[in-house]
């Protein structure tokens, strides 16, 4: 168990900056998720912590110990790789025991720990098999088991679920979260899947082009994204964005999108005073676009007319792809909606949950 600190960490590969001045403190026993699109530097950040890449600048601490020049084997970490990286020539038991044997742990202790980890993961009957005789899900468990037996102070996981089918991924996601609670150890997890990040992380660090965009709890990231990138990346379907002009007065302020004009609630207006007459980016999540007939009571709804382009029935809800002017946006509405393809339809924007961003800096206006 240990905290982890990235202190102004930079990693360059030639002219490419993979990680750019990353500073983040990860508390002991925290489950931190690095999330971002491919090439954003999340895996490199993890590999820097593992000691598999050398830092260009900055410092990394595990607990109070500076580990910049410490070999991976001496960092007291364990890592689960995307490809699982099980040793093909060893049995499951030997795969799990390998790290302990290298550390000259007594045989009885190795046996106890391997069997205990196997029991936790439900792979006791697989201990004599070779990795090639296992299914994807079983391999993934063995990789986890290999990490668990080491009893490391930090667990590193590099997209460990991406090779599993959708159903198994959801199941394993929950099991990993449970494992974190059980082991009470620091977990650092890398994924490109925002859903995984939202469901597992106690905090999420969103990266883009090697730069940390925002670190916060899943809820805070969702409700108060710091910039357009985070707002668009977190949440599925993604947030709708419109280029609008702030018009009206301080008392009665509107966002004019050309084909629609919505009123800003009075308590949301003050941060926009300086933007009167200027263009900003207005964001609204699909679930905040309602079919008026089934809109929850008491919302501050602003009507917007649009044409229904596509409807997607998801079972418990319907995604409406709507067009206003040349702009397409998505609404996530009640499945009983009367909206049909090709029809003009009026939806309500729940302005209580509106998001506004500076057009130039792309930062949230607060």
């Amino acid at each position: 168990m240990a905290s982890v600190t990235y202190d102004h960490v930079t990693k360059r590969f030639g002219d490419v900056i993979a990680v750019n001045d990353l500073t983040i403190e990860i508390a002991d026993k925290e489950f931190l998720v690095f999330v971002g699109p491919s090439g954003c530097g999340k895996t490199t950040s993890l590999r820097l912590l593992a000691g598999l890449e050398e830092l260009t600048e900055g410092n990394i601490y595990i607990g109070d110990r500076l580990v910049n020049d410490v070999a991976p084997k001496d960092r007291n970490i364990a890592m689960v790789f995307q490809s699982y990286a099980l040793y093909p020539h060893m049995s499951v038991y030997d795969n799990m025991a390998f790290g302990l044997k290298l550390r000259k742990t007594p045989k009885a202790e190795i046996d106890r720990r391997v069997k205990e980890a196997a029991a936790i993961l439900g792979i006791e009957e697989l201990l004599d098999r070779k990795p090639k005789q296992l299914s994807g899900g079983q391999r993934q468990r063995v990789a986890l088991g290999r990490a668990i037996v080491r009893e490391p102070s930090v667990f590193l996981m590099d997209e460990p679920l991406s090779n599993l089918d959708a159903k198994l991924r959801v199941q394993t996601r929950a099991e990993l979260a449970k494992l974190h609670q059980r082991l009470e150890t620091t977990f650092i997890y890398v994924t490109h899947d925002q859903m995984e990040a939202m469901t597992m992380g106690t905090r999420i660090a969103v990266l883009r082009d090697g730069i940390l965009q925002q670190v916060d709890t899943p809820q805070a990231l969702y409700t108060s994204p710091g910039n357009i990138f985070v707002a668009g990346f977190i949440g599925s379907p993604a947030m709708n964005f419109f280029d609008v002009t702030v018009v009206g007065t301080k008392e009665e302020m509107y966002l004019d999108g050309g084909t629609f004009k919505v009123q800003v609630p009075a308590h949301k207006a003050p941060p926009l005073y300086d933007y009167l007459g200027k263009q900003i980016v207005f964001g609204i999540r699909p679930e905040d676009v309602h079919d008026p007939e089934y809109a929850p009571p008491g919302i501050i709804g602003a009507p917007v007319k649009a044409r229904v382009d596509v409807t997607e029935l998801m079972g418990n809800e319907v995604f409406l792809y709507l067009v206003t002017g040349t702009k397409t946006f998505i609404a996530r509405v009640d499945p009983r909606t009367s909206a049909r393809v090709g029809q003009d339809f009026e939806v309500l924007f729940n302005m209580e949950n509106m998001h506004v961003f500076d057009r130039d800096t792309e930062m949230a206006i607060r």
């Binding site: 593992a50 070999a71 991976p72 990286a85 020539h89 390998f98 290999r146």
Partner: protein, 226 residues
């Protein structure tokens, strides 16, 4: 009939006597395999300036005909007083066997995921332990292929053995075979018998090892291959 039998027996005795001179055979592949496995690992896995250039140079050396190196090698060996010794063959054979072995091993290493070594490094290995305990056991087919090539090459090599060795008691089988021809007299019976006997070990080795040979040669050709 009796005379023919005696002659046949003498021929076999001569050939078996020559078989005893396969001295360079086990040594050259051992040297080639040891050096190639370590060298190829350094070239494919360790990041150092000039690794790519060096790899290309190895390919150039591999493409160079062995005969081109014969004269310089002869000159060097005669200065070192190594000519007419079996040691000269043991040293010279890897010079043209090694580039091929290194190239083959490089291809094989490229097919082994780097994550395996990284997992070993995190598990508690240093570089050498990761190489010997995780990577090397996975390269068995390639190692065997390299060994088999080395053995067959050393077994059948003629030119170097012909030039570097000139006393009869040190001649290798291919040279010994050639010595059976005197001017324009070709003892077909003895030559054929000797050729058959000479082919037996190679045939046996290939029959036993062909599975590994094919696997070694096609290593890295397809994803997940090898």
């Amino acid at each position: 009939m009796g005379a023919e039998r005696r002659r046949a027996a003498e021929t076999f005795a001569t050939v078996f006597f020559l078989v005893g001179r396969f001295f360079p055979c086990p040594f050259t592949p051992l040297i080639s395999t040891a050096v190639a496995s370590l060298g190829a690992y350094g070239l494919t896995r360790l990041r150092w300036r000039g690794a790519n250039t060096f790899s290309s140079l190895i390919l150039v050396a591999y493409l160079m005909p062995g005969i081109m190196m014969l004269i310089p090698i002869y000159q060097v060996f005669s200065k070192l007083r190594l000519t007419n010794t079996l040691l000269s063959l043991i040293i010279s054979y890897p010079t043209f066997g090694l580039p091929f072995a290194t190239w083959l091993m490089m291809g094989y290493y490229s097919s082994i995921p780097t994550e395996l070594e990284e997992a070993a490094l995190i598990d508690g290995c240093n570089r050498f332990q990761a190489f010997f305990r995780v990577v090397l056991p996975l390269t068995k087919p390639a190692l065997l292929a390299v060994m088999l090539f080395g053995v067959t090459q050393a077994w059948s090599e003629f030119l170097y053995a012909y030039v570097l060795i000139y006393s009869e008691d040190k001649m290798t089988i291919p040279v010994g075979l050639a010595q059976m021809i005197t001017v324009d007299v070709l003892p077909w019976g003895e030559l054929s018998a000797a050729a058959v006997i000479m082919a037996i070990p190679v045939l046996a080795i290939y029959t036993l090892g062909q599975r590994f040979m094919v696997r070694g040669l096609t290593a890295g050709a397809i994803k997940g291959g090898g």
